[in-house]
């Protein structure tokens, strides 16, 4: 009799444990995008900094226009892409590069987002679901690239392809609406020197994959091991 009771108890315990743990494991898998390494597509960019000339803002203007951003430069304005001027303190060498969401394979913003509003698509593009974002700004704290902006004011005349929302966080979408239509992101298309090369990092025959194999490229803050989708040449 005792044995039966014990067996029943064990069965119930194992069942309960499975029911409790299973959703967690499932969420864990989703959050870490388990199948991504096997995904046939991973969109990325290779930016040749030698072609990024002083004073050129073509990529920024194209991004603002495409995504309906005001282009304002106040600390409360959204800037999805910006130009960083860099100077090597020891040698005096100066150069510039465009900085935006680096579309990490291990994005800290996705890890910290309490609601899963920050998410990574299977093709590697990191996005914010505006309907799930609660505006806590934890992703902005976690992003090593300062790539995210918070919408501080009500918005008007939005681009219907790029919905945004007051009180939510946003960042470069790699022009996902264009990419899904087979087009290039606006910044890549607008660059007068063709210094922003966009393509599929997982396709060995793509131009970007070939170039990344051939030239020395760098990930910004590679020490953080985030495996960024945006790479730079000439840093």
């Amino acid at each position: 009799m005792k044995d039966v009771q014990r067996r029943n108890f064990l069965k119930t315990s194992v069942g309960l444990a499975a029911v409790t743990i299973a959703p967690g494991m499932l969420l864990f898998k989703v959050a870490h995008g388990e199948s991504d390494d096997n995904s046939k597509v991973r969109w990325g960019m290779l930016i040749d900094t030698s072609g990024c000339t002083n004073g050129c803002r073509e990529c920024i203007d194209a991004c603002n226009k495409e995504n309906g951003l005001s282009g304002g430069l106040a600390p409360t304005d959204s800037q999805w892409i910006r130009k960083i001027e860099i100077k090597d303190v020891s040698t005096g060498h100066e150069f510039g590069l465009p900085m935006m969401c680096q579309h990490c394979a291990e994005p800290p913003c996705v890890d910290v987002c309490p609601t899963g509003a920050s998410f990574k698509r299977h093709d590697g593009i990191v996005l914010v679901d505006k309907h799930r974002c609660i505006g806590c700004r934890y992703c902005m704290m976690a992003c090593p690239y300062k790539a995210r902006s918070f919408v501080h004011e009500p918005l008007h005349n939005q681009n219907p392809d790029v919905p945004r929302g007051k009180g939510t966080v946003e960042s470069c979408t790699m022009c996902v609406h264009r990419v899904d239509e087979g087009k290039q992101p606006a910044c890549a298309e607008a660059c007068p020197n063709k210094s922003i090369l966009f393509g599929n990092l997982h396709d060995p025959n793509s131009e970007i994959a070939k170039k990344i194999r051939a030239v020395a490229s760098t990930q910004v803050r590679a020490d953080l091991n985030l495996n960024t989708g945006v790479r730079y040449q000439g840093i």
């Binding site: 800037q79 130009k83 001027e85 100077k87 309490p114 505006g135 934890y138 919408v151």
Partner: protein, 394 residues
């Protein structure tokens, strides 16, 4: 007889006046929230570099203190000390009151406060923020059950196990609060494993200080005298907690100073960062530590007055510390290209500027007012007054 009646009448009026005052503060806070909802966070001082501001300073102080105040209850129920046991109900009440105030501020500051339930529904298991929603709601439930077990005679048997559960839970909760910052690996100010234990030890000091203040006010209101031996013991315990938290903060800065890549941040926060070093040294170190330690340990200090002043100083110091830690930590720019000088239109390489607006300050005070109202009403209608037997050293 008539004098005592008149006094009671006066006290009653004062009670309602205090409640009305706190209610007004809550209303003003709600007005600020409504305005933030309508116009957006543009009316606050926060921006894309300083993304967490004054509301977070208030909210985190209240939440950390809410956990720390339970220390009083834990010493009573876990370690069986009688004078603390008598104070466990008041500690539990203060914990719930401060947790409510802190969480209200945190939620109302969200960009989309109406979606506050989403973290519980769309739970992201890798997010420490999401874990905290469970930790906070669990703490509410546990402390309420713990209070029930103390007030209801038939439930008394559960008081000890519930006390132990609360003891464990609040450790995990404050660890969770510290982890919010500890997980931010890319920021020089945060991303350190020492932060969770540092928050735990600081919670002891802040919680104890708040408990002292409330206890002394309640005793004075009821014309009762707290036994000097009890006060002396608790004052000394506060002193130990202050020393402990000061030690943790010192180690946090020392470890940062040891890493060459964090030296510039430490220089900023401790030396040439303007308002931040000033608040750190004058606000946190001097008012929040040196002054209360002197008031507690210097011989010849009058116990009651010095305990009150020391506790108030610890609370002020706590706010100063959090302002420097949270806002100063964000003001220092991210190091995207170590060893290079950078500039951009988005504040790269530049110290972020932040001036808190009246609206976010109102929201913060709203949180304090919520905690005040819950405490005052509960103490008025229920028996939260500590009942001491004649003091016998445990």
């Amino acid at each position: 007889m008539s004098t005592s009646f008149a006094l009671q009448h006066k006290k009653n009026r004062l009670y309602y006046a205090l409640l009305a005052g706190a209610g007004l503060v809550v209303l003003l806070a709600l007005y600020a929230v409504d305005l933030m909802e309508e116009k957006g966070h543009i009316i606050t001082g926060m921006n894309n570099q300083i993304v967490w501001g004054m509301p977070h300073v208030f909210a985190i102080f209240l939440i950390v203190a809410a956990s720390g105040v339970l220390n009083v209850a834990s010493i009573g129920s876990v370690f069986g000390k009688a004078i603390y046991k008598a104070r466990a109900p008041l500690a539990g009440l203060l914990s719930i009151a401060m947790l409510s105030g802190g969480l209200a501020v945190l939620m109302l500051d969200l960009g989309r406060p109406e979606r506050f339930m989403l973290p519980a529904l769309d739970f992201n298991i890798t997010s420490v923020f999401a874990w905290n929603t469970i930790l906070y709601s669990g703490m509410f439930g546990l402390v309420i059950a713990y209070l029930w077990s103390m007030f209801e005679k038939r439930m008394n048997v559960y008081s000890k196990p519930l006390g132990v559960a609360v003891f464990a839970w609040r450790f995990i909760l404050t660890t969770g609060t510290g982890l919010i910052f500890a997980f931010l690996t890319a920021r020089q100010a945060f991303g350190s494993a020492i932060l969770p234990p540092m928050f735990v030890v600081m919670s002891f000091a802040w919680g104890m200080a708040v408990f002292h203040i409330v206890q002394m006010v309640i005793y004075a209101w009821n014309d009762k005298e707290l036994e000097p031996e009890i006060l002396e013991r608790k004052k000394r315990l506060l002193g130990l907690f202050i020393l402990g938290s000061l030690y943790m903060v010192a180690v946090y800065h020392m470890t940062n100073l040891y890493f060459a890549h964090r030296m510039s941040f430490e220089r900023f926060i401790l030396l040439d960062g303007g308002v931040y070093p000033a608040l750190f040294w004058w606000g946190y170190v001097l008012i929040g530590n040196v002054l209360p330690l002197a008031l507690i340990f210097m011989p010849g200090m009058k116990t009651k007055k010095s305990a009150m002043m020391a506790s108030l100083a610890v609370v002020l110091g706590g706010f100063a510390f959090l302002y420097v830690f949270i806002i100063g930590g964000q003001a220092f720019p991210l190091d995207l290209f170590p060893g290079y000088e950078v500039s951009s239109t988005f504040g790269d390489g530049k110290i972020g500027s932040y001036t808190p607006s009246i609206y976010e300050i109102l929201l913060g005070f709203g949180g304090l007012a919520i905690a005040f109202i819950i405490t005052t009403v509960s103490v008025h209608v229920l028996n939260f007054m500590p009942h001491d037997k004649s003091y016998i050293a445990d």
